[in-house]
Structure formats: C-alpha cells, structure tokens
C-alpha cells in the first residue's frame, strides 16, 4: 500500500558503468564474456562442418586455416576462456540446485563446486585419452 504524497520524489541514481563498481561485478562480466568464446568455437565447428560437406579440398583449406599462427593464438585465447567458463559454471552451480542432504547433513556449496571441478578434470582426461587412443 502506498499513499505517499508528492514530496516523495526519490532520487534515482544512474546505472551507467555499474559493472565497474565492484570487483564482484567485474568477475561476473568476465564470466559472461566467456560466452563469446563458446560462440566463436561453435562457429568454427560449424564452418568445419560446412567445409566438410563441400569435399576434401574445402576441408583441407579449413585445416590449413587452423594451422595459421593467428588461429593458434585465437584458440589459446579460447582455451583460457573455456577454463574460466568451466570454473565459473561450477562456482555458481550450488546456487542452482535444491538443498541436498546426505545423512542428515546439508551438502555444502563448496562441496558441489569442488565435485564439479573434479568431474571436469576427469572428463577432460577422458577425452584426451580417447583421442590418444585413436591418434594417427
């Protein structure tokens, strides 16, 4: 209920540049920016698929492009972003799950996050091992 008269104007402060105001927000923005890496990588994959469908020559062109220093550099940036992305994903993970109880005790958020880290490392090793298995 609000029966407030006119005196109650209220000064509204601007939001411009809000994300620079607090280190927490900067971190959040960095997390959000990693989406660009995911997008770029999705596009690279998509282009690869397109080239693949166009035949060997086209696909080899795509492979050659991947070998340029510029591409390697870009992928290093993507790699770093993916790591940040993965970490931040699991950092926020406990916020997105219902409260969990094991043996009558609340599972701590940090436990969930750490589990996420571990699973990621295992998944990464698994992928690398698989690829190692089919290496040429």
């Amino acid at each position: 209920m609000n029966h407030r008269a006119t005196l109650r104007r209220g000064y509204v402060r601007p939001m411009q540049g809000w994300w620079r105001r607090d280190p927490f927000f900067v971190k959040y923005m960095i997390r959000e920016v990693t989406a660009l890496a995911v997008l770029v990588y999705a596009i690279i994959l998509m282009v690869g698929v397109v080239r693949l469908s166009q035949g060997a020559e086209a696909f080899n062109g795509w492979l050659a492009a991947l070998k340029t220093p510029g591409s390697i550099l870009l992928h290093l940036v993507l790699l770093a972003s993916m790591i940040v992305h993965a970490k931040s994903w699991f950092d926020i993970m406990p916020k997105t799950m219902p409260l969990m109880f094991v043996g009558g005790h609340r599972v701590e958020g940090s436990t969930i996050t750490r589990t996420g880290y571990v699973v990621t490392i295992v998944a990464t090793v698994l992928v690398l091992a698989l690829v190692w298995g089919v290496r040429a």
Binding site: M1, H3, R4, A5, T6, L7, R8
Partner: protein, 599 residues
Amino acid sequence: METFKADVAIVGAGGAGLRAAIAVAEADPTLSIALISKVYPMRSHTVAAEGGAAAVTQAHDSLEAHFHDTVAGGDWLCEQDVVQYFVGQAHEEMVQMEHWGCPWSRKADGHANVRAFGGMKIERTWFAADKTGFHMLHTLFQTSIKYPSIRRFDEHFCLDLVVDQGRVQGVVAIEIATGEFRLIQAKSVIIATGGAGRVFRENTNGGIVTGDGMAMAFRHGVPLRDMEFVQYHPTCMPVTGLLFTEACRGEGGFLLNKDGYRFLQDYGLGPAEDKPRNKFMELGPRDRLSQAIWHEKQKGRTLSDPRWGSYVHLDLRHLGEKKLRERLPQIYELAVEYLGVDPARQCIPVLPAVHYTMGGIAADGATAAPGVAGLYSAGECSSVGIHGANRLGSNSLTELLVFGKVAGVEAAAFAKSTPHANGDRIMKLALDAQARAAGIVTRMEGTERLATIRKEMAKSMEDGCGIYRTAQTMQATCDKLAELKQRYKNIRLDDKSKGWNTEWLLAIELGYLLDVAEAMAHSALNRRESRGSHQRLDGYEQRDDVNFLKHSLAYYQGADAAPRIDYGPVKITTSQPGTRAYGAAGEEADRKAKEAAHA
C-alpha cells in the same frame, strides 16, 4: 489535514499490534482496521527477542505450575485472575502461531520442542532457534497480509490520541516521508507501542523503544501502573547493552566471577551443579541474578577492562561449538562479530542492562484503560497485570499473543457497538495536536541540544533507578528530570525540513521519554519497600506486604508538575504472598508447602 476513517485503530505493529489486528479481522471481516507504525512492522522490537515464549506443553507440567512460577516470580504483585487466564490461553496461541507458519524448533518426532527458562520450574518455553521474536514477528506480519481489512500506515509516527468527552476517537499521525499530518478517526484504539527501555543508558532495546504510547495515554489521564519495576537482564554485552539471551543459561551456560567461581551459589541460588536445573543457579530469576552481579562488583570480584568496564563471565565453552551453532547461532555470531570472542573457546563478558518495563498503561483483564472508553492496550506498553514486580523470561512474547488477541476482540466489540463521533470536534483536537508538534520545528530561539538532554536523562535514570535504589539517589533523579523537562522546552533543531525530519521525531520522542521517566522515578521513590526488581538499600530492604502489596498508579499532572502517585489493590485469588525462594531453599519451600497442603 487528511482524514481516514477506520473502525479500529491500532498504534504499533509489533507482536502485540499485529496479533490484535488479526484478531479484529477474524472477529469481524467487515470492520476496517488502521494499523499504524512508525517503522515497517518487521522492524518492530519484537524482532529482537531471542529466547522463546512460555506455554504449558509437557504432560508433567501444569497450568498451576506456570501460574505459581509467574506469580511468585512477580513477587505477588500480579493480578492473579489475569495470570490464570493467561496461562490457560498460552498453549493455544502457540499452536495458532504454528498454524500460521512460525518455524518453531522441533523434536525428532515432529512436535514443537520446549526449553528451560529462568524462574520456570518445568521446560515450557517454545522457541525458534534463538530468533524466536524475529520469527514470531515475521510470521505475524506476513499472516496479517492475508486480511484485506487491515490497512497499514507504515512509517507513520503517531503523535497523539484524540480523546473527547471521555472517549477515544482516533489518533493523529505524521507520515514520516512527507511530514504530513493525518487524522485517523476510529471508534476504538489499541495502543501496542512496546516498552520504554530507552529511558535508561545501558539497555537491550531498539532505538524505537521510547514509551510513546505510555506517554500518550498518560497525558490523557490514564494512569501508568507499576512503573518503578524495570527489569535488568543479567547477561548483556558491555557498552552496547545487546542481549545474550537467557537461553544461553537454559542450555547450560555458567556465570563466573573473576576467580572463575560460580558466584550465584553465594546468593541463595545453589547448590552449583554441572547440569542446568530449573530455578537453580543460572536459571534463577533475572532480578536475583542482576542483583548478585551488583554485589559481586561491590566486593571487587568482577572482572574489568578499560573497554568494557566491570563485568562477569558467561561461560558456554563446555557446550561445544556444535551445540552452540545449532541452538544459539545468533548468540554465536553476535559474540564473534561484536566482541571478537569465540564462545566455544572463550568466556563472554556480560553485565546487567535494562531490558523490560514491567509496568505500563493500566489495563483491566480485558485490556481496557480506566477512564477512557474505547481505549485498549496490549504488549509491553500495557500493564495488564501478569508480570508484577518482575517478569519471567518468555512470558512476554506469550503475553503479546494472548492479550493482543484479547485487545483485538474487545476493541472490535466496542467498535461495533458505537457510531463514529462528530468529525468537526475531532478535527479541532487534531489540529491542536498538529500545532503543538509543528511548533517544535519552527522554534528558532532554542539553545539545548536534543542528545544532551537525552543522555543526561538516561544517565540520571541509571544512577537513581538502577538495580539498587535509595531515596537520595531517586530524589536526585526526580529533580534532574524536572530540570530536564524545563530545558526540553528550549531545544533547538538543526533540521527544518518537512520530509523525513527524524530529528523532529526524536524531539517528540524525547518528550515521551521524559514523561515516562518521571512516572518511573516518582513511583520508585514512593515505594518504600523492596520487591522484585525494585530493591532499596536505605532501610527498606524488606518486602512490606502490609503497606505495599499494591499497584502504584502514576497520574499525569501537566507539563510542569510531577506526577501524582496513588495506589490500587492487587487481585489475589489462590496464591498468598510467600517467600520467593530459589535453589535448594526454593525446593525446601515447595516441599513444605506441599506438606502443609496435605496436612
């Protein structure tokens, strides 16, 4: 002036005010309710209550036992018929709170749990961790939202009652944000403005606990009853006065002097045992414990520190971190954050501070004020007669519910039987009140600073009306208060604005505080005996049932005069005044009483 019409106006949206509002709404949904509070309801000081609310619950407990604990705890200055009603209604109110969602702590079987509390013979205190008041207040506030007939006036400062021809007709309030005056016309009014702990220096109360409602009723001729009885809580934080709940002791905490000795055994509360035992040692009543700490200080057996002054130790270490975190989480955090003390590893420094006003607006068992028709009061501002000379911990949260409901039901019935009065006459009274209040801001020639007067008042109350009192110190306080009332007329405000002028509101509150302080000091001076929380050192060390088994009644005599102190009878039904004994002596007395009953 904007006017609102309601059937029932309730001043104060703490536990008592909210419970009353819901009671009116449930009694008759067609009645319109104005619920006025100077802060948003959930900021009310009920929020700070930690320990719990008493109601007979266990099979081996009885209403008689709760009745007896309360009456003896109050040193027989209780209205026994009212206490009887109170203990009888308590349990149902707890269940009602449960149905409304209050997160009471539970036993493994899903039933509500109860804990031990000072002065209570059997565990009967319902609790929600150590945030009982917080949970009760939020539950009541949130439940009140369900009722469309409750119209809230949040952040509206109630300035005065409108009383015409012996009947209350409404209230005048200031909308804080705009400084606009509002007349809220009502057929009946419930005052539920809480206590007045802020008249003292070291206290556990919030900044808003300034006795406004007491002063308003007082000024309209309603007597303030038993105002000399002010409770000191024994375990408060040095400097700030913040409370460490009695539940610390209920859970098994010890009080130690500087030698690490459980000194309470020297004050008739022993023997000292490891496990907490109801009505023994640390679970004795608050007045006794505070007095014992005072004596320890006189004997030089308290600890001292330049930051904290002299204090004793509250030892919770043996309870272990796990139990502390589970049962007393808020206490844990308070100690760590405010004092840098880890209660699982260190003793907590504590000292007594003012906590509760036993007295208040005189009210009969139906919460009605004498002399002003349609006026009711409930909660800490009210003296309905259950606390006597000393309140037992956890009785007051229950009181909010039981008598909040009674007030609501009664005020609703009164409103239904009465029409609204003539608006013009009421408006004129309201405009008078407005002129008086507005005058404070516009006054230019003053010289006194608000804070100076407030601090001198609080210091003087502590000096004169503290744990122990003498005629000389009380007289000095009375004189000081008279002086301060004169100087109060000469205050000057820095803030001249209309909207959000909190300095202005503080000035109005200071006026209330001074009136309440005077009622306390004069009632105290005139009570020439020692009873409950009123303890004298000047030849009146004993209880005097012949002359003073009476309620004191302070009557307002105008802005420049001291209040007149009169006395009224105490209702005794089944419990004749006896010795208030605790510890082994108490057990012995109980045994004797039983024998006598059987003989």
